[in-house]
């Protein structure tokens, strides 16, 4: 029985809110009966409707990670090697975003966050506000944002609905990010039927700051004033965090009010005003973005971090609609707002900055003694809760897990279940792969993003990693960024699939000449209350955590998005990995395109020999099946170390990782920056190997490098010292033809321009037919 002894709060000034809290109302707020019991215990009385709303958003999966918190503890949050570059300055979960050291007194703040559900309902606004939210997380830390990327997942482009979502999401990202003036370096995009009706929109932002300028989101110093900055609060985005923590259904369209509306111009003003304010020494005590759960989350989180109480008066909150009640103001997710705690007596300074930028800076409350978050409206206390109960006492669940049957089937799969590919079919198979939108050129997307603003773009989207020069900080360093996650492998073997996502991401950085520093992850999964879905979540997290530990690349933050289901279907497990890397020297910047004729092409890592999970099985047979490729981290580490060393030695002219589509797709892609080039490739293989597995298999730990002919024997010799397989498989030519011999038999002689046309036109053609 609950101890119902605390004095109830007075009636709310809005009579609409004075209702009896029934089990139905509790259920509508997404709280389980036992969770409501905990609320009663914490308060010692029945909550009023405003308080119930506050618990509902703060204890939602989106804010409280109640189904994943235990799993997330598996991730390493700092580097083992204390002498390596990339030490963690702000750890995952401590603040709005993690921060790592990049040397010379500078740090990089970065994080990825999902906006999947809003984008499914309202793609333009959903994606746009996804960008807005993650950018605020970064400049809240005191960092100047320097790059954006996105991880996007859609269903098949054959569907008009998917086309509408794809176009809307890209326009939303383009519209918001371009206006902010932060270069968008592209990212990764996959198309798979499992995302039909439930697209994934993950947005990443990275920013640069000096160590001493790192800001904290804590409300400390009793008596310090609490400011609300940014545009007024409206009724948009009411309860967005709870909405994001449910499955999508046919009725979800009725949740459209829960999708926020973005104003990138306001965000730009807020960004500049906040950075200007934070540059004033000693003015800002704490700062927190009003993102998910808006005013609610920012007040209780700052109080909780500061071990303080906080009191705010809603009459002082700028509002752009009339007649809003306390429930609406507290739960609104109006965009482009921040909560700032400044030093008492210096109120004038913050007001001057925001006046310059024509923004509100309203003094709405104070830091208090004790631990209560007290909210007043029209002279009445409308909520009075222990702040820490909202942030730290949310229930944590360990869900039952059971392995889905398809995973065992994938282990038992035999390559003999698919017929061997005939030599005559190689060209058509290659064309089918190049036309698959996951593999095809994404130029249609990234030419809509301003990737050159801030004058730092060093490697434009389309190469293995995007690279920006940090000239805005006045330092001669380059930041490289890569996102990855092949859902097909995660579906077939969640543990290995996550390892592969990690390894490929890191390999992409290595191919660009960058050393990996840290990871931010976006765990996109289905309903965790379903044991099979929870099993895949758990295994992916383990796979990712073990990868981070092996390579000593810590996780500095991220996001969890569950309940990604629509109708009968659920998405494949999609743990998106984003990794930041550093390139110190200009000469080390490496692209994935063959530069000139007459160079040698070396395959590192051995000949591919597995077909399981490959895109070839998809485009040829419509199958998502097979045994996930082998993962050998010792070999992976060797290949990446070797690659970076050879890049630093100036031996590598270009480098490209073999991934979706396999060896032949990778060679083709290397020629697509200049389709007048060609390649003569000749490969020997043992009789036991299959041609399709060799050319289109997606065995891991393979990289192609272009080197000068003069360096071949030296590079091959060095590879041998590393114990690494390195094969000279041919050379680049001026012929405009991709020629391939296998065991001295001609297998392919294709016009590169024709292959290029297939690859570059696939997405525009689909998007232009209506």
């Amino acid at each position: 029985m609950t101890d119902n002894t605390a004095t109830p709060l007075p009636p709310n000034p809005d009579p609409v809110l004075n209702v009896e809290i029934t089990p139905e109302l509790v259920a509508q707020h997404g709280l389980l009966p036992e969770e409501y019991e905990s609320v009663l215990k914490i308060l010692g009385r029945t909550p009023n409707l405003t308080e119930l709303g506050i618990f509902s958003v703060m204890w939602s999966e989106h804010c409280a990670y109640k189904n994943t918190r235990k799993l997330l503890r598996l991730f390493p949050t700092e580097k083992k090697d204390k002498d390596a570059i990339g030490q963690v300055l702000v750890k995952a979960g401590e603040e709005n975003a993690g921060v790592i050291d990049v040397g010379e007194g500078w740090g990089v703040a970065f994080k990825i966050e999902s906006h999947n559900h809003p984008s499914a309902i309202e793609p333009f606004e959903g994606a746009a506000t996804g960008v807005g939210g993650i950018v605020r997380d970064i400049f809240t830390m005191g960092a100047r944002p320097v790059l954006l990327t996105n991880s996007l997942r859609f269903g098949s482009l054959d569907s008009d609905h998917v086309k509408r979502l794809f176009r809307g999401v890209v326009h939303g990202i383009s519209n918001y990010g371009n206006c902010l003036g932060i270069p968008n370096m592209g990212g990764d995009i996959y198309f798979d039927d499992c995302y039909e009706g439930n697209p994934l929109v993950n947005a990443l932002c990275a920013g640069i700051l000096k160590h001493e300028d790192i800001q904290r989101g804590a409300a400390t110093g009793v008596g310090n004033p609490v400011f609300y900055v940014g545009p007024g609060t409206g009724r948009d985005g009411l309860g967005g965090a709870s909405f994001a923590s449910r499955e999508l259904t046919e009725e979800s369209a009725a949740d459209r009010p829960a999708v926020q509306k973005g104003d990138p111009f306001m965000e730009k003003l807020l960004l500049e005003a906040c950075l200007e304010m934070m540059a004033i020494p000693g003015l800002v005590v704490g700062i927190q973005d009003m993102g998910a759960a808006g005013l609610t989350c920012s007040t209780c989180e700052t109080a909780s971090r500061g071990n303080s109480g906080i009191e705010i008066d809603l009459d002082l909150v700028p509002q752009r609609e009339t007649g809003m009640n306390s429930y609406e103001i507290m739960l609104s997710e109006s965009q482009e707002r921040m909560l700032v705690i400044v030093k008492k007596g210096r109120e004038r300074e913050i007001k001057e900055v925001f006046e310059k930028w024509d923004l509100h800076a309203a003094h709405i409350g104070e830091v208090k003694d004790g631990d209560r978050m007290v909210v007043r409206h029209k002279g009445v206390v409308v909520a009075d809760l222990p702040a820490k109960s909202l942030t730290d006492e949310a229930p944590i669940y360990d869900q039952p897990a059971s392995e889905p049957a398809h995973i065992q089937a994938a282990r038992d799969w035999s390559v003999n279940s698919v017929p061997e590919l005939a030599v005559e079919s190689v060209e058509s198979s290659l064309n089918k792969l190049l036309a698959h939108p996951t593999i095809a050129s994404k130029r249609w997307v990234w030419q809509q993003y301003d990737h050159q603003v801030m004058s730092g773009c060093t490697v434009e989207p389309g190469s293995d990693a995007g690279v920006v020069h940090l000239s805005i900080a006045g330092i001669d360093k380059r930041l490289a960024i890569s996102n990855d996650c092949n859902n097909r492998f995660c579906y077939l073997d969640p543990y290995k699939g996550a390892q592969i996502a990690f390894a490929e991401c890191m390999r992409n950085l290595a191919c660009s000449g960058a050393r990996a520093l840290a990871v931010t992850d976006n765990l996109n999964f289905a309903n965790p209350n379903k044991p099979e879905a929870y099993h895949m979540l758990k295994e992916c997290v383990k796979g990712l955590a073990d990868s981070c530990k092996f390579f000593d690349v810590p996780v500095v933050g991220g996001n969890v998005s569950l309940y990604n289901e629509h109708g009968e279907g659920a998405i494949d497990p999609t743990p998106v990995i984003s990794m930041v890397g550093l390139i110190e020297k200009a000469e080390a910047v490496t692209r994935s395109f063959i530069k000139e004729a007459g160079n040698s092409i070396i395959l590192l890592g051995g000949l591919p020999n597995e077909l399981g999970g490959s895109y070839f099985l998809q485009t040829e047979y419509g199958k998502k099946e097979g045994t996930c490729p082998e993962v050998d981290f010792d070999e992976e580490k060797k290949i990446q170390d070797f690659l970076i060393d050879q890049i630093d030695n100036g031996k590598v002219i270009s480098a490209h990782d073999i991934s979706e589509g396999g060896l032949l797709v990778a060679i083709s892609e290397m020629l697509f920056d200049n389709p007048n080039l060609g390649a003569d490739i000749s490969i020997d293989y043992g009789t036991s190997n299959r041609l399709d597995a060799l050319l289109f298999g997606e065995s891991q730990g393979r990289v192609l490098i272009e080197i000068s002919e003069n360096n071949v024997s030296e590079v091959l010799g060095l590879a041998e010292e590393y114990g690494l397989s390195a094969l000279n498989i041919g050379n680049s030519t001026n012929s405009g033809r991709l020629k391939l011999k296998v065991a001295n038999h001609e297998v392919l002689d294709s016009n590169v321009n024709e292959l290029y046309e297939v690859w570059s036109n696939a997405i525009p053609q689909q998007m232009n037919q209506n």
Partner: protein, 228 residues
């Protein structure tokens, strides 16, 4: 000698322009807030790219009412050198300092690409001999489709006021126009971003001859002033 780079709410290439002029070309430059007045030592003005006032209403339509525009107009009337880049070009057109208007790209989408442009024989500073015949410059805009009534267009062409033409029109601009000048040769506007083509890691270094050509008169005068 000082280059003033105007900063409106929503400008986002102001740092880029300052970096190109100050750090790369070594010419003193400073950013000037739109509510301030133009510093008296100003010898040239760059109106940078971005989304001034969110590009709400029309690109450049609100910026034209900013307090600093009064100073800018009087600076122009005294023969001061002004260059508008991208959104800056749109602002100068809205303010009537340059003829014409920039409307939505004909592809209806934002375009960020490395664009081939051809330098026209415009005046003694902007011509193929000085700047190079064919340049590659980044463009990044959704509203770069240049429009002008046919009579005015004829005047513009016959006065050699066209600075740059696209080779492969990316936005539907009339006569492939990418950049123009006023009749007096002191106000310039272009959609391509010369300030994004000045570093070794940029797609080209072709922004340098463009910026140098624009700043030539002030650099020369400054040399004279210093020796005097």
């Amino acid at each position: 000698m000082k280059v003033a780079i105007l900063q409106f709410p929503g400008s986002n290439c102001d740092w880029d322009a300052e970096h190109a002029v100050k750090d790369v070309l070594g010419i003193p430059a400073t950013r000037v807030w739109h509510k301030s007045s133009l510093p008296s030592e100003t010898e040239a003005v760059i109106v940078p790219g971005g989304f001034s006032f969110g590009d709400y209403l029309r690109c450049g339509a609100i910026a034209r009412f900013s307090p600093i525009m009064k100073d800018l107009k009087s600076f122009a009337s005294k023969g001061g050198q002004i260059l508008g880049i991208c959104n800056g070009f749109q602002i100068l057109c809205e303010a009537g300092l340059l003829p014409g208007a920039l409307i939505r790209n004909d592809c209806l989408e934002f375009r960020c690409i490395n664009q081939k442009v051809l330098i026209q024989q415009s005046n003694d500073r902007f011509n193929p001999e000085k700047c190079g015949k064919e340049l590659v410059l980044p463009i990044a805009h959704g509203e770069g489709n240049y429009r002008l009534e046919s009579e005015e267009l004829n005047t513009l062409e016959s006065n050699n006021q066209v600075l740059l033409r696209y080779s492969g029109n990316p936005n539907g601009s009339v006569n492939d126009i990418a950049g123009i000048r006023n009749i007096n040769g002191n106000v310039y506007g272009m959609m391509p971003h010369p300030e994004r083509a000045v570093e070794p890691y940029h797609p080209s270094a072709d922004g340098l001859p463009i910026l140098s050509a624009f700043l030539e008169p002030v650099c020369n005068r400054s040399t004279v002033d210093l020796s005097a």
